[in-house]
Each structure stands twice: as structure tokens, then as C-alpha cells.
Amino acid sequence: MGNKQTIFTDEQLDAYQDCTFFTRKEILRLHGRYHELAPHLVPMDYTNDPDVKLPLALIVNMPELKENPFRNRIVESFSEDGEGNLSFNEFVDMFSVLSEMAPRELKAIYAFKIYDFNTDNYICKEDLEKTLNKLTREELTPEEVNLVCEKAIEEADLDGDNKLSFADFENMISKAPDFLSTFHIRI
């Protein structure tokens, strides 16, 4: 109990509880995980919001992300500077969106960000190619990749601009019942 007081104030924990899908206990556990990543950098006392950021390389090494082909994109989409440096708040954000409780809408927004490799707010053919290569570990031939990309865009593109906007993406995701359960990382 004494430990709890030193990491976060009650006020902070309440705020976390209201703004994320985690309970107090889980926030404390997340802090533990964050602290574990770089014990000499991350302070135990977070009551005065220290400005600490961990680089992408450290976060990507978590066992939950280590084998994920999209690990870099996940971390980048949640970092404010876009380069993958995560503060504790952004770290919490990341796992909150990836938690079981997050609604489809929220998950879709961040999934869109993750798959939008060149951050131009559209999933274009390039992005699709990259996604496919990561998914299949480049086991498909370039022609096959090309064909899949074309067909996929054709299927999902509603307004006919040959790339997927967020609206297209959301519409497509809404047809996939499994998306909610697969876009989920247990922490």
C-alpha cells in the first residue's frame, strides 16, 4: 500500500482510470513494466510527471511486441514525435487501445495509423505492399503482392480514389468480427 502512494497520487490514478481502459492495479503494473525496460532512466516516483521518454529500440524489445511484424509502426503511431520515443503516458495509451475493453472505433483509428506507413492519412498501394510483406515475411512474389494489393484496394475503396481513406478502412473493419479479438495484446 505504501508503495502505491509513492508512484502515483490518488488524483493521478483516478485520472488514468477515467481516461484509459485500465484499473489502478493495472496502471501500477504497467508502470512496473515501463520501469523494467530502463530501470536507471525511469524514476519510481511519478507524482510530479517527470519528462522521461524511452526510445523505440527499448520498447520494441518487450516480449509482447518483440515478434510482432508491425512493432515499429505500433510504437511510432503512439509516440507524439513520430519517431517512436514513448513517455509513460503514451505507453499507457498504447496498451489501452490494444486492451480487450477498447471499442472497435478506437481500435480502428489506431490500426489505420499503424498500417499507414508513410503517414499521409491514406492507405495507398505502397502501404499495402509493406503490410503484405510484413504479414507473409516476403514469401509472395512481387506479382502476387501487386495483384493482392490491387484487388484489396478495389474491394475496399468506396469512393473510387484508388486508395483507402479512413472511412473506407472503418467500413471494411466493421465487417470483420474477429478484428476486435485479434487486435488485442494482453499485458
Partner: protein, 844 residues
């Protein structure tokens, strides 16, 4: 509608645009005018137009930093002229523009609302502002909130104009509005809204702080708030704290969090669904145990009956047969008494009851009333506890089934299978290296299959091939159905034989009771081994059939196994409820309910033992054999469907048995706990992730529905049948002396009415609603009609969705058309500058 209107008037104003700001000013002016003229009725139009308007307005200003990479990528495209962003799209084929986008058009394009959602903070804020507004409007019935949206509306109207002044100020303004709106929501709505916002925690907590602070300030400004409302706030805060601690307590109850994480990390969502299902069953049984324990077992255990059965020594075989030492314990129906518990169950009462025979409970109850105030009518408690347990289980089941249906079956049909595969096939939970590798292999083979389907048309099969196929399927079905029928006959005759054998044994007193007990194990052993072996045979048959799609394969396997299990259970129910229950004297049984309870205990236990054997031989030894002897690298694959069906079978037995053995859920809980750890260990040691794709959410829905439909409904029907029509034992149990168990409720109603004449409506209700089957028929009919209407509604929604999709496509066309027009106007206006810009672009 709104689009076409705005376009018509947009064109003339665009004849002489000096800057983008002018265009947008005219836009907002136009909308202002419209909303003034439409006034009160303009609500919906305003909702449609304004949000988009202020978003684009806002983002146009804000987008300056955002559109730099976008522009860069576009100019790169133009210079490269290869397959890139927009070379192959329809714009190029359009003679009007080609690739020549002016800077201004690009600005308009990049500020479209749809492409800024989830990207810029301002867009999110205004989106949620609209959402909170909508939520508040929905609650306009509340007088205090009624005025707020009205009073805030004029400021939305001039909002677009205000936006033009400053960038930062605009966002602040928007945030204030949002905070203002958030405050007016109830706490739970506010928290839900905050949680769902795609903003960072820092921003959210700032919003939260503002929203709650303002609340405090607000109340301070008003000066004195009445004492009761302050009290209300305190109570709300206290309740909120309690709710949070309750939530975290519930969360800590979530069983096996770590184990489930490990399983899903190695095997993915499919295998996880088995374990989650197991956990669900465990919770069902704990619930059942809680009810029966609280209302039946504990009261009876506190007041043990005065003449328990003959003392029997504990031998150890009881653990297998459930008889002997356990036979006269709180475990079975026969132990429960039919007297009213008060302090102690006096023998005098018992004798008076015996003398009274029918209607004794009435007298007995009066006696009890005189004796003490705390009385507990055991037969009634037994009747209602079982009834309530089934009722609540039914409600929970139907609820979870509907929830699962909502998640897994969308109203519209999935079309874009390829696009869905690209974005939704990766299971983010999987963290083990080899499984990740397997998953990506799996995905690439799926892509290859899909591509081959797309590119090459199906090779036509000849009539002969198709005939051969058909005959193989036919043969397989005949084999499965035939074997099932043969097994059924065998079980039927074997149970008959066991029954006759038992009669003989009862006649001859030479055999030791131990041997007699052991002989009872024959039937459960036979049935369990059938349940174990026949699915293997079905698998072999399915292997012969060579199904093309794995999902059809799974469904067929599930259907065949289900058919087997349901029919075996039906034969067994016939055996128990007709053969044994209607002629208990043939077996010299004092209490046939206890005997049936024991049988169910034996079946449950044998099922468990055979599952252990199956796990050991089927998974562990098979792995050793295939790795050592066959030198293959492959490990066996965890058969989710079969394992889940086994769980469902066990659960059906447990539900059937609750009436006869109230403590049967304990056995089931223990069994499930052991099974979880055993299966997990075996899975980790022996199995590998499956290569087949597994549609987890649809399968989970299927399993829940199977649990509900044949399993629970079957158990409920046979329990109800037992309660309604079969005569309970005359010399034991809570319902002795009654013709049916149901009669205890009837007697209670009569007694209530005779004690209290005001309650005569209860009697009326009972005779007309409960005893009269007509009412049940009418209720069921209404229920069916409601279901029919719902399916009709869903059908209609599907049609509307199709229409809307068409409309979206039209909107897309409209958008393109508008952009082209806009571009044309710019070209006319500043041809020189555009040319120069293009030249500069291509040079860089």
C-alpha cells in the same frame, strides 16, 4: 442533398476568388443563411453541414504542418511518373485535370474531413463535440439539460466565421465547447466518452480536469448550494469510489489471466477460445453451486435429519461409484427431508406428519409457526431453488448468446475478403517466435489460395468426378449415421441388460455389496469409451472425404459428434426416467432419485477419467510415437471442436443431475479446474499451433449456442418433465407423499390462500397461468412472433445498408466531380502561376 445545394451556390461565388478564406467565408455564410431560414426545423441540416464545415475550416488552417509530407509525396509522384500514389487512378484518365493539381486544390483536398479524422487534434475535438451534443439532445427530456443545446446553438452558427480569426484560439474555443458539453453529461457518459477518444492520456486528463473543475467552479459561483445537493455530490463521489474498487476486485477475480496469456501467445485466438469457454462453464457451475449450496445444502446440513441411513464405512470405491458412504449424505436427493426446518426437526413432528399423510405440509407448517418464527419449508425450497437456478442460468445463457451473436455476425455480408485478410488476419496476441512464423506461413498460403481462386477460373469437374464425389460423401454420411444408430442400439440393449442383471443381483443376497457397486460402473465405462472412440472413426471418415474448405470440415465434424452425443444422452435419459423412475420397486430401490443421481455422478467421473486417458494417450504418447518412431517433426494439433463438445457433454450431465444430486456442481467445478491445468500442461508440452485458420468469434458463438440449444434446453426439458409428471419416491426425499414434485408449489399456494384470503388472486394465477397449458402456448407463440419481427427488421436493415452503400459510392462520384470543377476554376483563374508551380515541382 446538402452537397448539391452548396455546390450550386458555390460556383458563382467562386468566379472571383482571391483566397481560400473567401471561399470558406461564403460557404459558412451560405449555411448561416440556410439555417436562419430553416430555423427550428433546420436541426438536421445543421447537424449535417456544420460539423463538416467547421472541421474543414479548422483543418485548413491547421493542416499547414500536416500537408508538407503529402505535398512532397505528390510532387515525387509527378516527377517519377511510375506506379505510385495516384498515377493509375481515374484522375489521370480524366481529360480535365490529369495530374495538374493546383496548390489551392491540394489544400482543399488535404483538409477534407474524412482524411483528418484520427489525425489532427482539432478534428477529433470537434467530432466528439458533435457526439456529446447528440448525446445531450437525446436526453432532452430532462428539464435542466433542455435549454443548453438551444442556447449554445447560435454560437455554433457563427462558429465557422470565428474560426478564421486565429488558429490557436480556435482550438481553444473548440476545446471549451467540448469541455462544456462533457460537463453536462452524466459521469458515466463522460467517462465512456473520454475513454473512447483517440487522444493521448495527457490531453484526456486535461479535458477531464477541466470538465470536473468547471463543475466545482460552477457550483461555487452559485454561492450556496443546498445541503442536499452537496450531500448528493458526496454520495456520488463515494459511490464512484466504491464502483472502482468493485471493478478492480472483479478484475482480480478474472481467473487464469497469466495462463490464458501464455496460451494465446503460443497458439493464438482459436485455442484460447477453448479455454475461455472452459472458464465460462466454470463460472456457470460456481453460480449453480452457490445457489444450491446456499438454499439447499447448508440449511439441510445444519439440520440433519433424525433418521439417516444405516452407517456405512468409507471404502474408497465410493469415489468412483458415488454410492455407499455418499449414498446417505447431503450429496443426494434422498437425504433431504420434507419437513419445515425450525431450530430442529423434531421426531414428534415427523410422526404427526406420517400420520397425516397428504396435506401434511400444511399442518406441519402451522406447527412450525407456533414453534418459532424462523421456519424453512424444505420441499418448497428444493422446488424453487432448482427452478430458479435453471431460470437464471437460462437468462445468463441467452444474454451471452445474444452478445456473442452481436459481435460475430454482422448484418451485412462480408464481401472484401482479400482486403479483410490483409488487415485483420494478424493475431496480435501471438508472441512466440515459432508460432509467429507459422502464422505468417499460414497467411501466405491463404493468400495464394485466394489468388488462385481469383485468377484462374475453377477447373470444371467432369460429371463422373462429381458423381464419385457425391457418392463418397453419401457413403461417409451413411457410415456415420449407421455407426451412430448401431451404438444407440448397443447402449439401449446394454442398459437393459445391466438393468436386468441388477434385478437378479438384488434378488440374490449372496454377492457382496462392493461387487454390486462395481458392476454399476459398467454402463458409464462403455458410454465414455464410445464417446472417446467414435469421434476418431468420424475423423477417419472425414479424412476420406477430403473437404475443400476447412470450415465445412469443422462444421461437419461438429455436427456428427453432436448427433452422437445427443442421441446417447437421449437413450440414457429414457433409461433413467422411464425404466428406473417408473418401476423403482423392481430394483428394490428406496429412493430412485438418489440412484439416478449416483448414476450421473458415475457418468461425470468416467467422462473425466476418459478425458485424462485421451489427453495422455492421444496427445502425449502420440507425440512421442510420431517424433521417435516416425521421426517426424510435427506434433499433434489441439482439436478444439472435439474438446469443446466434450465439455458441453459434461455440462449437460451436470445440469441433468442437479435435481437428483444438488452437490453435483461441486464435482463439475473440481473436474473443470483439474481439466484446465491438465489441458494447459498437455498443450504446452505436446501440441503445436494449428495450420488451419480458425474463425474464433463465429466458433465461440456456435459453441455458446450449442451449449444453449441441445444441451441446456435438453437438460431443462427432462428436469421439468421429472418435476411435472414423474411420481417421486414415497419414502425419501423432500417430496415424499406427493404425486409430483410440482405439487409442492400447488400446496404452498393453497396454504397461502387459506392463511390469507387476500391472496386469492395468486391461486387464480396459479390455476390459470401455471397449470393451464394454453397460457404457455400463447406465451411461446408471442415469443415466436417477436423473433419473427426481429428477423424482418434485420432483413430491412440489410436492404438499407445496401442502399447506403450505393449512396456512399455516389457521394464519392460527387466528390470527384466537385474537385474537378474546383480545379477547373482555379486553372481558369491563375493559369500562369499554376504552370510555374508545376514546372518547379517537376524540376525538384
Amino acid at each position: 442533398m446538402a452537397h448539391s445545394v452548396s455546390f450550386d451556390i458555390l460556383e458563382p461565388t467562386l468566379e472571383s476568388p482571391v483566397d481560400e478564406g473567401v471561399v470558406h467565408d461564403s460557404f459558412s455564410r451560405l449555411i448561416e443563411e440556410q439555417s436562419h431560414s430553416l430555423d427550428e426545423d433546420g436541426d438536421c441540416l445543421e447537424m449535417q453541414v456544420l460539423p463538416e464545415e467547421d472541421k474543414s475550416e479548422e483543418d485548413l488552417l491547421e493542416e499547414d504542418r500536416d500537408n508538407v509530407p503529402y505535398l512532397a509525396s505528390l510532387t515525387w509522384d509527378q516527377s517519377e511518373q511510375e506506379r505510385g500514389l495516384g498515377t493509375e487512378n481515374s484522375r489521370q484518365t480524366d481529360p480535365l485535370i490529369g495530374e495538374q493539381w493546383s496548390y489551392a486544390t491540394l489544400r482543399v483536398l488535404s483538409s477534407m474531413p474524412s482524411r483528418t479524422i484520427g489525425r489532427s487534434r482539432g478534428a477529433i475535438l470537434s467530432q466528439y463535440y458533435n457526439r456529446t451534443l447528440r448525446l445531450r439532445r437525446r436526453r432532452q427530456s430532462r428539464p435542466s439539460l433542455h435549454d443548453c443545446p438551444r442556447s449554445s446553438r447560435p454560437s455554433i452558427r457563427c462558429y465557422g466565421v470565428e474560426m478564421d480569426t486565429t488558429d490557436v484560439g480556435g482550438e481553444e474555443h473548440k476545446k471549451d465547447k467540448l469541455v462544456n458539453n462533457l460537463q453536462n453529461l452524466s459521469i458515466s457518459d463522460r467517462v465512456r466518452m473520454l475513454k473512447g477518444m483517440p487522444l493521448s492520456v495527457v490531453e484526456k486528463s486535461e479535458l477531464r480536469k477541466l470538465a470536473s473543475n468547471y463543475n466545482g467552479g460552477h457550483s461555487l459561483n452559485r454561492g450556496q448550494i443546498p445541503c442536499c445537493s452537496r450531500l448528493k455530490y458526496y454520495i456520488i463521489i463515494a459511490l464512484r469510489h466504491m464502483w472502482y474498487s468493485w471493478l478492480s476486485f472483479l478484475h482480480s477475480l478474472q481467473l487464469w489471466q497469466v495462463a490464458l496469456k501464455r496460451v494465446s501467445g503460443r497458439f493464438g485466438t482459436g485455442v484460447l477460445s477453448y479455454f475461455v469457454f472452459l472458464r465460462t462453464l466454470l463460472l456457470f457451475n460456481i453460480f449453480l453451486l452457490f445457489i444450491t449450496g446456499l438454499f439447499l445444502v447448508i440449511p439441510q446440513a445444519v439440520h440433519p435429519p433424525t433418521h439417516p441411513g444405516p452407517p456405512v464405512a468409507f471404502t474408497g470405491l465410493e469415489l468412483l461409484t458415488g454410492g455407499g458412504y455418499f449414498a446417505h449424505s447431503v450429496m443426494y436427493y434422498g437425504y433431504y427431508t420434507n419437513c419445515t426446518l425450525n431450530g430442529s426437526c423434531q421426531p414428534t413432528q415427523n410422526s404427526s406428519m406420517d400420520a397425516n399423510r397428504t396435506g401434511s405440509t400444511l399442518v406441519d407448517h402451522d406447527d412450525a409457526k407456533r414453534g418459532s418464527h424462523l421456519s424453512y419449508n424444505m420441499p418448497l425450497a428444493y422446488f424453487f431453488t432448482i427452478g430458479m437456478a435453471f431460470f437464471f442460468t437460462c437468462i445468463i445463457l441467452v444474454y451471452s448468446m445474444s452478445k456473442s451473436f452481436r459481435h460475430s455476425f454482422r448484418v451485412d455480408k462480408p464481401q472484401g475478403s482479400l482486403a479483410l485478410k490483409v488487415f485483420c488476419s494478424w493475431d496480435f496476441k501471438v508472441i512466440k517466435k515459432s508460432s509467429v512464423k507459422l502464422q505468417s506461413e499460414n497467411i501466405s498460403t491463404q493468400f495464394k489460395e485466394l489468388l488462385s481462386e481469383l485468377s484462374g477460373p475453377h477447373e470444371k469437374k467432369t460429371v463422373l468426378q462429381r458423381l464419385a464425389r457425391l457418392s463418397v460423401h453419401l457413403l461417409a454420411w451413411v457410415m456415420c449415421a449407421g455407426s451412430t444408430a448401431a451404438i444407440l442400439l448397443a447402449v439401449h440393449y446394454f442398459s437393459d441388460y445391466v438393468h436386468k442383471d441388477l434385478q437378479k443381483r438384488v434378488g440374490s443376497a449372496t454377492q457382496s455389496p462392493l461387487e454390486k457397486e462395481a458392476s454399476l460402473l459398467a454402463l458409464p465405462v462403455v458410454v465414455s469409451s464410445i464417446n472417446l472412440l467414435l469421434p476418431g472413426f468420424f475423423n477417419a471418415v472425414a479424412w476420406m472425404e477430403e473437404y475443400d474448405s476447412p470450415s465445412v470440415h469443422t462444421y461437419v465434424a461438429i455436427f456428427r459428434n453432436l448427433m452422437l452425443k445427443v442421441s446417447v444422452l437421449a437413450v440414457l435419459c429414457y433409461h433413467w426416467l422411464w425404466r428406473i423412475a417408473s418401476h423403482p420397486q423392481e430394483l428394490n430401490l428406496e429412493c430412485w432419485e438418489s440412484f439416478v443421481g449416483q448414476e450421473l455422478y458415475r457418468f461425470l467421473l468416467m467422462d473425466f477419467i476418459f478425458t485424462i486417458l485421451d489427453t495422455f494417450f492421444g496427445e502425449f504418447l502420440w507425440k512421442l510415437f510420431s517424433q521417435k518412431a516416425l521421426k517426424r517433426k510435427r506434433k499433434p494439433v489441439f482439436d478444439i471442436a472435439r474438446n469443446v463438445l466434450e465439455l458441453i457433454y459434461g455440462q449437460t450431465l451436470a445440469w441433468l443431475g442437479v435435481l437428483f444430486a444438488p452437490l453435483l456442481p461441486v464435482v463439475q467445478v473440481l473436474k473443470l479446474l483439474l481439466l484446465f491445468h491438465m489441458k494447459k500442461t498437455s498443450l504446452m508440452l505436446n501440441c503445436q499451433a494449428s495450420r488451419k485458420p480458425w474463425r474464433a468469434s463465429q466458433m465461440t458463438t456456435l459453441f455458446i449456442s450449442l451449449l444453449c440449444f441441445p444441451s441446456f434446453v435438453g437438460a431443462a426439458v427432462s428436469v421439468t418433465y421429472t418435476m411435472w409428471t414423474i411420481k417421486p419416491s414415497e419414502r425419501c426425499g423432500p417430496f415424499q407423499n406427493l404425486t409430483t414434485m410440482f405439487q409442492s408449489g400447488k400446496l404452498w399456494v393453497q396454504e397461502l390462500v387459506s392463511n390469507n384470503p387476500n391472496m386469492s388472486w395468486l391461486k387464480w394465477m396459479h390455476t390459470y397461468l401455471v397449470e393451464n397449458p394454453l397460457f404457455l402456448f400463447v406465451a411461446a407463440g408471442i415469443f415466436l412472433v417477436v423473433i419473427y419481427f426481429h428477423t424482418q427488421v434485420v432483413d430491412g436493415q440489410r436492404k438499407i445498408i445496401n442502399l447506403l452503400q450505393e449512396q456512399i459510392e455516389n457521394e464519392g462520384e460527387d466528390k470527384k466531380f466537385l474537385i474537378i470543377k474546383l480545379q477547373a476554376i482555379h486553372e481558369q483563374q491563375r493559369p500562369q502561376s499554376v504552370q510555374r508551380q508545376n514546372l518547379a515541382g517537376s524540376e525538384s
